[in-house]
């Protein structure tokens, strides 16, 4: 999908090699490119790692080299509302939220699009490794990047037909080595810098401290119990744990214990041995179907429950527009409420949803 020649395109720039090459490719193709970095909110103890001063300097330098305008746009309030507050609420509700998904949907697309329009641009672009294709019936499809290590469609499953109609992914099917080579060809001296950083708004490995600061009630001590309800010890707050976690439990047993479930009502952490871990089915809510329409009948697809995990075959039964029941062909140990389950058929990303806390 290519915008008309000469179109103005706003490129989200991180200062890293991916978005720099994306900008260079568009400029090379004759587009009227504007580089933008969004200034995101961060905890007062830290700089937001997606727009830290050195990242800004790098992006500004690359924009200078490409001779394109570059603006840093204030998105701090919007980011807090759309990303940080739901992150806090998610932990308070006992899930492990994935703030990058909200950021993509609300900030990197919706917010950036509104600013791009004000800047006279009908298109936005990023350095994501994924491809947009127009199918035979004229609808937009989101396709994986062939390199499973680089494919970023997992985070993009929240995009809608409308979003895709004004989005450009110049890196599309390129591999990381090809992108690095392009950077060399364009003479761009840029280091690798992830286009997005997990929990960019709190200090490194400090989300617990952050939660404690904003809402001490999120981290209240409670019991660690086994599957029979026998109390084995005490935890310092359910938010510190995630399903399938083994480290940091501090409970000795004949074999290692794993986090099996969080009992929010009783503030209890349920642990058990490895053979008790794992589920074959779960429900997803907030499901986005990229096609814009929920399939009516159950269908088979591959399901990915974490960004880097491999896709597992399964059956998806849609319920209404944004709920789905998923049955996997194998048991997975780390199905985590709050994380996304993303559905694929071959190269096509069909959409996905947020894993619910309890099975039906």
């Amino acid at each position: 999908m290519n915008p008309p020649a000469g179109s103005r395109i706003v490129v989200g720039m991180s200062g890293g090699v991916d978005s720099s090459v994306a900008a260079a490719l568009l400029k090379d193709q004759g587009y009227d490119v504007i580089g933008v970095m969004l200034r995101l909110w961060s905890d007062s103890n830290t700089e937001n790692r997606c727009c830290a001063p050195d990242a800004q300097l790098e992006a500004r330098r690359i924009a200078g080299q490409l001779d394109i305008p570059f603006y840093v746009i204030d998105a701090q309030d919007a980011f807090y509302q759309a990303v940080v507050q739901p992150f806090i609420d998610g932990y308070a509700g006992g899930i492990t939220p994935n703030p990058c998904l909200n950021c993509n949907r609300q900030i990197r697309w919706k917010f950036l699009r509104s600013r791009a329009k004000a800047l006279g641009a009908e298109y936005i672009s990023t350095g994501h490794y994924a491809r947009i294709k127009i199918s035979k019936n004229g609808s937009y499809q989101l396709l994986k990047n062939p390199d499973p290590d680089k494919d970023q469609s997992y985070f993009l499953h929240v995009l809608t037909q409308d979003d895709l109609s004004w989005t450009v992914f110049p890196l599309a099917d390129l591999s990381k080595p090809e992108v690095r080579q392009l950077a060399r060809d364009y003479g761009l001296a840029v280091a690798d810098r992830p286009d997005s950083q997990d929990l960019c708004f709190v200090g490194q490995d400090n989300y617990r401290g952050f939660l404690r600061e904003v809402d001490p009630s999120i981290l209240k001590p409670g019991s660690i119990v086994d599957l029979d309800g026998v109390v084995l010890g005490e935890h310092q707050g359910l938010a510190e744990f995630t399903i399938g976690q083994r480290k940091g439990l501090g409970i000795a047993g004949p074999e290692p214990y794993y986090v099996i479930e969080k009992d929010i009502a009783n503030n209890a952490l349920i642990i058990g041995f490895k053979n008790k871990l794992g589920r074959m089915s779960f429900n997803a809510e907030d499901v986005n179907w990229i096609s814009g329409e929920s399939p009516t009948d159950p269908f088979n697809a591959n399901i990915r429950i974490r960004y880097k995990s491999k896709a597992v075959p399964g059956k998806i039964t849609p319920h209404g527009n944004n709920l789905a029941h998923i049955e996997l062909t194998e048991s997975l140990p780390d199905i985590t409420p709050g994380q996304a389950a993303v559905f694929y058929q071959d190269q096509i990303c069909l959409g996905g949803g947020i894993i619910q806390r309890k099975a039906l």
């Binding site: 200034r39 746009i73 509104s114």
Partner: protein
């Protein structure tokens, strides 16, 4: 895209005639004025001629002209130099300034207060930035070391007539400084009419080169040097003189005197056209700073309620118009400007500021083009601002 520059209060392009005047001094006549030989003597002559020219244009004597590297350095030398001399000689430690001084003055005063035991008072200004002259005497103290009030404000364009205040200071033997970097880019300055003891000037605001300024120091005003070393500039500013830039500044300043009236007469109607248009056509807009008769001839500044001023500058730039804003910030973390906050503007107004400043070559057509796109740009930015 054809880009139109409307940010002449930030800086100006160097006039061709100024470039021509400077060129021989980069390579042909490159001597160090301190040297004994003919090369040095050529440099010394250029330095001397430039000093005489600027002194003549100010109604001052050449020994009262100190070349510096910029207006900010002139402010630093004036404030720190006079404050330290007064502290050294008399133990005085009180500084009196306005709340809307340039950062070069404000930050220097802040450092004197935090590190050197000085105290600062602020002479009140009204919402247009005019200082309260009637109250001036009440703010002076027995131990007032220095008064500094800017002649024209960079952000809001307001001109303060300092003659009366300067007269009071002279009567009491208190040195008074003015940052005239913006004012002197448009108006002739005569040191006896203005009556102040220290005046900061910067060349790049009036089509001279960047990197050169002047501090006028009235004879008899005691200063401690802030840059020590050789005995250049009457021992007040050690450094090999930057002859090409100094020559350029003298030429550019001469041109202000020659052409200032004509420039003003041409700019004022264009400026007024912008002010009238904005106040009439843009809802919830206000002119910041003083009414047209009391502001710089090229200067317009506004606030728009509930508008992301930073985004407006970016949107205007993307349409080819370079403007500025008091809260503009390259790092995307805009704060209301301290000037607008001092003047009493609430954040929902102060964050939406716009400064449009014209230059001697700005045409009516350029102004018309700008006003043609401005309402649409503001509408679009307002739609996405909170």
């Amino acid at each position: 895209m054809n880009r139109i520059y409307l940010d002449y209060a930030a800086t100006t392009p160097v006039d061709e005639r100024v470039i021509d005047a400077m060129l021989p001094y980069f390579k042909e006549h490159f001597g160090n004025p301190s040297s004994v030989h003919r090369f040095g003597q050529e440099g010394e002559k250029a330095l001397d001629d430039s000093r005489r020219s600027i002194a003549g244009n100010l109604g001052a004597s050449p020994s009262e002209i100190i070349f510096t590297s910029c207006g900010s350095e002139s402010d630093n030398l004036a404030i720190r130099g006079a404050a330290f001399a007064r502290q050294e000689n008399f133990g005085y430690k009180h500084l009196l300034i306005s709340p809307i001084e340039h950062p070069a003055v404000q930050a220097t005063v802040d450092q004197l207060v935090s590190l050197h035991g000085f105290e600062v008072s602020y002479l009140p200004v009204d919402q247009s930035g005019l200082v309260d002259q009637g109250k001036f005497k009440e703010y002076l103290r027995e131990d007032t070391a220095l008064v500094s009030i800017m002649a024209a404000n960079n952000e809001i364009g307001t001109i303060n007539n300092l003659s009366d205040i300067a007269g009071i200071c002279r009567g009491r033997g208190i040195p008074i400084h003015t940052d005239a970097v913006q004012y002197a880019a448009h108006h002739e300055v005569n040191v006896d009419i203005l009556g102040v003891d220290l005046i900061s000037l910067g060349a790049h605001k009036f089509y001279g080169p960047k990197g050169v300024g002047v501090l006028y120091v009235r004879s008899g005003t005691d200063l401690l040097p802030s840059q020590t070393g050789g005995s250049q500039e009457f021992g007040l500013r050690a450094a090999t003189e930057n002859i090409p830039l100094i020559v350029g500044m003298a030429k550019a300043f001469y041109l202000v005197q020659e052409e200032g009236l004509a420039r003003r007469e041409r700019l004022i109607p264009l400026r007024n056209q912008i002010i009238d248009f904005v106040l009439e056509e843009i809802p919830n807009s206000q002119l910041t700073g003083a009414e047209p008769s009391k502001r710089l001839p090229n200067h317009t500044s506004f606030v728009f309620e509930n508008l992301d001023g930073n985004l407006l500058i970016q949107v205007l730039d993307s349409e080819g118009f370079a403007c500025s804003s008091g809260s503009a910030c390259k790092t995307g973390d805009p704060k209301p400007s301290s000037v607008l906050t001092s003047l009493g503007y609430a954040p929902e107004w102060a964050l939406g500021s716009l400064r449009v400043t014209l230059g001697k070559d700005t045409t009516r057509n350029e102004v018309d083009q700008f006003l043609g796109i401005l309402p649409g740009a503001i509408k679009r930015v307002r739609e996405v601002s909170r």
